[in-house]
């Protein structure tokens, strides 16, 4: 039986580990040259920082995952540097790209562990050089030993905001400010009395305390206004409004921003897995059962790509999905392990709900972005152009949902296929049409999930 595991982050590693334990030799694909996923990405050879410097409080977890990764590689058909650019599940076929050449493989089952990326809210100036996602800022430091600029502002909301700011400070970067769009009361209200993960909360409080103690400017409940710069290829300040309505301008050379993460679910979508809106996460997620089975036979999803849960959940979900594969194939599954993991996953899901309430996606911030804001950075489509597409008096009538708006304006039609702007674009359009993100629909996935170089065909004909 040939099982493919797509992705070698926390979910993928634990899925492969279980499959190997059961005597299978899975086909293991990852786009990156090494595993670990984004969270436990390792620097290339020649970098010498240890796990404690790279992963901080997560060092033990990272090391354990790396050990499992390295142990599983020789036991699997490990194929790094390999993008899965399409799935045609009618033939159970994955379409790969390796070193610029295409190739197709047939499998019996696949576990998609495709992870997540930052969820962003565009604001005027966000396309300028010097602005990255929070995840991007973290990767620059972790995998390249670099800060995104000499003087950095972190903006957004969620645990990653504080973690990255703390990591930058600790690495000796100049952190000019940490600006949280969620108010303190909102966070407190969501966590008080609700089941939450005391460890996660404690870590978060620790990061905030350390940043404050180091004299980093910290503000909560802020409204970002614009990222400004005198030169086109640099930024000089972030303009923002505090909770009391006072306007500020914080001088900086770089901004890292993000509001939580969203699943990378293009492959599940292309494979025909139904996608639904999760109102707790405020994200579109693939339909799956508790073990990660999708309604499409032979297809499983695990980790953040199956719905945001974080790395701890991803590890457990990966193991569960692998057990589901074994069980569905009539192979002996480790029911005791599954039961134990399922109990822990249910607990984590309750914590997650509190976390999502504490750091909600800033719907109104997205919906009210100024008309002149470039919303789709690939195609340079402004918020105003998207709003115009919702107007019945426009030359093509009103777009009633997001794919029609894409057809009219080219929003989400560029190289990233709406990964970056999709969440915010939905809020802009929804507000204009008097509905919500669930009602506006989602940008359908289209192959290739990432750009496919023209000479790729040479692989197929070989």
């Amino acid at each position: 039986m040939k099982v493919a595991v797509v992705g070698a982050g926390p979910a993928g590693v634990r899925a492969v580990e279980q499959l190997v334990r059961a005597g299978l030799r899975p086909l293991w694909l990852d786009e990156a040259p090494d595993g670990g996923g984004r969270i436990y990405q390792r620097p290339p050879a020649g970098f010498r920082r240890g796990a404690a410097a790279l992963y901080g409080l997560e060092a033990k977890r990272a090391q354990a995952l790396h050990a499992a990764l390295d142990a599983a590689k020789p036991a699997a058909e490990w194929r790094p540097d390999t993008l899965v650019w399409d799935v045609t599940w009618a033939e159970k076929r994955l379409h790969l790209l390796h070193q610029g050449r295409a190739e197709a493989v047939e499998v019996d089952a696949a576990i998609l562990c495709t992870g997540a990326m930052d969820r962003v809210v565009p604001l005027p100036g966000w396309t300028r050089p010097g602005v990255t996602t929070l995840g991007g800022a973290q990767i620059a430091l972790k995998a390249q030993g670099c800060a995104i600029g000499p003087k950095v502002v972190f903006l957004g909301s969620g645990p990653l905001l504080w973690l990255v700011a703390y990591q930058y400070m600790k690495a000796g970067a100049n952190v000019a400010a940490v600006l949280d769009t969620t108010g303190f009361r909102r966070k407190l209200g969501a966590l008080a009395g609700a089941p939450h993960d005391p460890v996660t909360l404690a870590k978060g409080l620790y990061y905030v305390a350390r940043l404050r103690a180091a004299g980093v400017r910290v503000a909560e409940g802020v409204t970002p206004l614009a990222i400004e710069g005198e030169q086109p290829d640099a930024i000089s300040a972030l303009r923002w409004r505090d909770a009391a309505g006072r306007e500020h301008s914080t001088a900086c050379d770089a901004v890292g921003l993000g509001w939580g993460v969203r699943p990378e679910l293009q492959l599940a979508d292309l494979a025909g897995v139904p996608i639904g809106f999760d109102t707790v996460q405020h994200n579109w997620v693939p339909q799956r059962d508790a073990l990660g089975r999708t309604p499409v036979p032979g297809l499983y999803v695990a980790g953040d790509g199956a719905g945001i849960g974080g790395a701890v959940v991803a590890e457990m979900a990966g193991a569960c999905a692998a057990q589901a594969v074994l069980d569905d194939a009539g192979l002996p599954a480790d029911q005791k392990l599954v039961n134990r993991l399922q109990r822990r996953l249910r607990r984590q899901a309750r914590f997650r709900a509190a976390l999502e309430r504490a750091f909600p996606f800033p719907i109104s911030l997205a919906a009210t972005m100024p008309d002149e804001t470039i919303l789709c950075r690939c195609e340079a489509v402004t918020a105003g152009e998207l709003r115009a597409a919702a107007a019945p008096e426009g030359p093509h009538g009103a777009a009633p949902e997001v794919n029609r708006a894409k057809a009219f304006t080219r929003i989400g039609m560029g190289r990233c296929q709406g990964r970056v702007c999709g969440a915010a674009a939905a809020e802009v359009l929804a507000a204009q049409l008097g509905t919500d993100a669930a009602g506006i629909g989602r940008l359908r996935g289209q192959a290739p999930v990432k750009p496919l170089p023209m000479p790729a065909w040479q692989g197929e004909s070989a």
Binding site: A32, F47, C146, G149, R377, P453, M454
Partner: protein, 91 residues
């Protein structure tokens, strides 16, 4: 945009070529790091006349950091390793 090298920077220097000029990087740098920790300032001009770009997600998702590498065509700077002798220009 200027990346600041903070840690793990005692790697061997390598030389590559950007827009016809010789540049130095460190072994293990991505193209994005090599260019933006150097003096490139940006990686490409947006096709739609809304200014220069220098990447955004740094994890291969946003496709904003495309540059042209001789012999490879257009590639993502954030997921392409900079190697000695590479000839790079703005896409």
């Amino acid at each position: 945009m200027r990346l600041v090298r903070l840690a793990d920077q005692d790697r061997p220097e390598i030389t590559f070529c950007f827009e016809g000029a010789a540049c130095t990087a460190r072994e293990g740098d991505t193209l994005l790091t090599a260019l933006l920790a150097g003096l490139a300032g940006f990686l490409r001009q947006s096709e739609f006349e809304d200014g220069p770009r220098a990447g955004f997600c740094l994890m291969g998702a946003c496709q904003d950091c495309r540059v042209m590498v001789e012999g490879q065509g257009r590639v993502r700077a954030c997921t392409t390793r900079c190697t000695a002798g590479m000839r790079v220009r703005r896409a």
